[in-house]
C-alpha cells in the first residue's frame, strides 16, 4: 500500500508504468486515493465519494491490465469530477441547495469517455455554487481549503478539483472554466490547469452556467498529463451543438521539449506594475528567462481592450446564466418549496430558498441587462466589445505563436478576504476571462512561489492550437522543478507542526 500511496503523488506515466509492471494494482491505487481523501477531509475538496463502485471498477481494470489489454493510458487510474459534471446514479449538487438530493439519470459526455478509457471516478469535487465564484467559498458544502495554507482559498470555481490534485488525492481531475475557473485555482494550488479551445470537449452533462464561454478541462501535476486527458475526453459529440467537428490531434506523443524558434507574445497590459503583485511578476519574468534559454523568442504585444474584459464578461456571463438557470423552477427536479399557494409562488419560493446570494446577484444582473430598454445598452454593447477583444487576439497572433501572462494578479488570498466585495472577487479573474471571451485554449503552469504560495504562468494559444501551448508548458517543466513541490501533509502528520 505504501507504494500506491507514494505513487499517487506522482504523474500519470509513473502510475501507468506501475500498473503495467504490476508493481501495484488499480484496486490498491483506488484504495490509496480513498484513504487520502479520508486523511485530507480537512480540505473539504471532495463532496461525494464512490468507494464501492470505484473499487468494483478497479477490479475490472485490473483484469484488463492483467490480460495485457488496458483500455487506454488512463485505465485503472482514479480521477475526480467537479460536482457540476453529471454521472448516472450519482448526485450533482453544483454546491447549491436547489439541487440537494438530485441524482443524475444520465452520464455526461466526459464520463462516458473516461469510462471507455478505463479511468475510475472516485469522487466529486467542491465548487462555487453553479461555478459562480473565484474561491470555492460559495458552497453548501462549506469552503474548500488550499493545501499550501488551509487559511487561504484554493481559488475557484473548480477549487475542489485543484486542491484534490495538489494534495495528492488523485493524479487527475476535471473542472469547468467559464472565466478562469480551471486556471485560477490551478495557479492558487500549484498544479497544471488546462482549458482547451471552446467546443473541444463535449458539454453534454455539464450543468450550464454561461454557454458561450463554458469549457471542461483537466487538472494534473504535469502538462503531459493534461495533454493525455484531452486526448481521452476531447472530440465531437452530437449532443452538444457547440462541439467542434475537428478531431483532437495526438498531443502527448509530440511533447519533446523543443521550443526553439517559437515566438511568444508578452501583452504589455498584463505586465503593468500596478496590475499584479511584484512577486508574481518576478516569478513570471524568471520563467520567461528559462524559456528564452531554450530558444523561445519573446516579443512585446498589445491587447488594447484588456481593461474592458471583466466588464464584458460580467454582462455576457450573467445574461447567459439568468437564462440557463431558469430551468431550476422546482417542477421537474431539485428543491421545491413547501405548500405553494400557486404556480408562481412555487417558482419564486423554490428558487429563492434554493439559490445562494452570489447566484441571485448574477441572475439579477443578467436579467437586468437583458430586460426591455437595457438590452442594447448593455448586452449588445458587451457582445460588440467581445468582437473587439477577439480582434485584439487575431491581430496579436499575427505576430506570435502563443501568448504568455501571469495566470492571476496575486497568489491565493485568505478565506473570507473578498467575501463581502463581489467586484474585488470578480477582478481576480482579470487575466483569465479573455481566453473565454475569445474561445482560446489556455494553460496555467506552476512557475514558483511567493511567500510559500504557488504562482502560475498562463499560456494562451490560437484556436485549436492546444499543441503549441502544451509544448511550451512541457518544455518549461523539463527545465524546472516547481511542479515537483508538494504541499505539507495533513494536520498532525510527520513533518508538520
Amino acid at each position: 500500500m505504501a507504494k500506491a500511496d507514494s505513487l499517487l503523488a506522482g504523474d500519470l506515466s509513473d502510475l501507468r508504468g506501475a500498473l503495467d509492471r504490476r508493481d501495484c494494482s488499480a484496486v490498491e491505487l483506488v484504495q490509496a486515493s480513498l484513504d487520502a481523501m479520508d486523511a485530507r477531509a480537512d480540505l473539504a475538496a471532495i463532496v461525494f465519494r464512490r468507494d464501492e463502485a470505484a473499487l468494483t471498477e478497479a477490479e475490472a481494470a485490473d483484469e484488463r491490465i492483467a490480460s495485457g489489454k488496458p483500455a487506454s493510458p488512463l485505465d485503472g487510474l482514479p480521477v475526480v469530477l467537479k460536482d457540476n459534471i453529471v454521472q448516472a446514479g450519482e448526485p450533482a449538487t453544483c454546491a447549491s441547495r436547489i439541487l440537494e438530493g438530485y441524482v443524475s439519470p444520465f452520464d455526461s459526455g466526459v464520463v462516458e469517455r473516461l469510462q471507455r478509457a478505463g479511468a475510475i471516478v472516485v469522487g466529486r469535487a467542491n465548487l462555487d455554487e453553479f461555478a459562480m465564484g473565484s474561491s470555492t467559498e460559495n458552497s453548501i458544502h462549506g469552503p474548500s481549503r488550499n493545501p499550501w495554507d488551509p487559511e487561504r482559498a484554493c481559488g475557484g470555481s473548480s477549487g475542489g478539483s485543484a486542491a484534490a490534485v495538489a494534495a495528492g488525492l488523485v493524479p487527475l481531475a476535471f473542472g469547468s472554466d467559464t472565466g478562469g475557473s480551471i486556471r485560477q485555482p490551478a495557479s492558487f494550488c500549484g498544479v497544471v490547469g488546462f482549458k482547451p479551445t471552446y467546443g473541444r470537449v463535449s458539454r453534454w452533462g455539464l450543468v450550464a452556467y454561461a454557454s458561450s464561454l463554458d469549457q471542461i478541462g483537466p487538472f494534473a501535476r504535469r502538462v503531459a498529463d493534461c495533454a493525455l486527458a484531452l486526448e481521452a475526453v476531447g472530440g465531437h459529440d452530437d449532443r452538444d451543438s457547440t462541439s467542434l467537428p475537428e478531431v483532437v490531434p495526438p498531443l502527448r506523443s509530440r511533447l519533446d521539449g523543443d521550443v526553439s524558434g517559437l515566438v511568444v507574445g508578452l501583452p504589455k497590459e498584463y505586465f503593468a506594475p500596478e496590475g499584479a503583485q511584484p512577486g508574481v511578476l518576478a516569478r513570471v519574468r524568471e520563467a520567461i528567462g528559462v524559456l528564452e534559454g531554450e530558444g523561445v523568442r519573446f516579443v512585446e504585444i498589445s491587447l488594447p481592450h484588456t481593461a474592458y474584459t471583466i466588464a464584458t464578461y460580467y454582462i455576457i456571463a450573467t445574461a447567459e446564466a439568468s437564462s440557463n438557470l431558469a430551468r431550476f423552477d422546482g417542477v421537474r427536479y431539485g428543491r421545491r418549496a413547501e405548500h405553494p399557494k400557486d404556480l408562481l409562488d412555487l417558482y419564486e419560493r423554490s428558487r429563492s430558498e434554493g439559490f445562494g446570494a452570489e447566484v441571485k446577484r448574477r441572475i439579477l444582473l443578467g436579467t437586468y441587462v437583458l430586460s426591455a430598454g437595457y438590452y442594447d445598452a448593455y448586452y449588445v454593447k458587451a457582445q460588440k466589445v467581445r468582437t473587439l477583444i477577439r480582434r485584439d487576439f487575431e491581430a496579436a497572433f499575427g505576430e506570435c505563436d502563443a501568448i504568455l501572462t501571469p495566470t492571476t494578479p496575486e497568489t491565493a488570498f485568505a478565506l473570507g478576504a473578498k467575501a463581502g466585495d463581489p467586484l474585488s472577487m470578480y477582478l481576480s479573474d482579470v487575466y483569465t476571462v479573455s481566453a473565454n471571451l475569445a474561445g482560446l485554449p489556455a494553460l496555467s503552469v506552476p512557475c514558483g512561489f511567493v511567500d510559500g504560495m504557488p504562482v502560475g504562468l498562463q499560456l494562451l494559444g490560437k484556436p485549436l492550437d492546444e499543441a503549441t501551448i502544451l509544448r511550451i508548458g512541457d518544455a518549461f517543466e523539463r527545465r524546472t522543478d516547481h511542479h515537483r513541490q508538494s504541499p505539507p501533509g495533513p494536520p498532525g502528520s510527520p513533518g508538520t507542526d
Binding site: 474592458y308 466588464a311 421537474r332 439579477l364 437586468y368 467581445r386 468582437t387 463581489p422 474561445g439
Partner: protein, 99 residues
C-alpha cells in the same frame, strides 16, 4: 453613476422569479449599482460599426437525421420529480375550475 432604485431590483426579481426579502433588495440594489457603474466603462468605446459576437466561432447549426431513438425511460425521467402523478410532473392548479 447608474441610479438603481430598490423598485428596479424588485421589478427585475419578479422577471427572474425570485422572491427577495427587503434586506436582500437593499443589498442587491447596492451590488447592482456597483456593477453597473463598473460596466459603464464600456460606453467609452465606439462600437457603432462593430458586429456583435455571440459565439467565439461561427458554426453552422448542426443538423441530424430525423430518426426516432428510444427516449429516456419515464420512470428514470421522473426519478427526481418533487411531486408526480402517474407519468406526469405535478404542480399546483394553474386554472381555476371553469376558468
Amino acid at each position: 453613476m447608474s441610479r438603481i432604485e430598490p423598485s428596479d431590483v424588485a421589478r427585475v426579481a419578479t422577471l427572474a422569479r425570485l422572491a427577495l426579502s427587503q434586506d436582500e433588495i437593499a443589498a442587491m440594489t447596492r451590488d447592482l449599482e456597483q456593477m453597473l457603474d463598473y460596466v459603464a466603462a464600456l460606453d467609452r468605446l465606439d462600437t457603432q460599426d462593430v458586429e456583435p459576437t455571440a459565439h467565439s466561432f461561427e458554426l453552422p447549426t448542426p443538423l441530424r437525421p430525423d430518426r426516432a431513438v428510444p427516449p429516456l425511460d419515464p420512470e428514470i425521467a421522473l426519478g427526481n420529480a418533487p411531486e408526480r402523478e402517474g407519468t406526469a410532473f405535478l404542480v399546483p392548479k394553474v386554472l381555476e375550475e371553469g376558468g
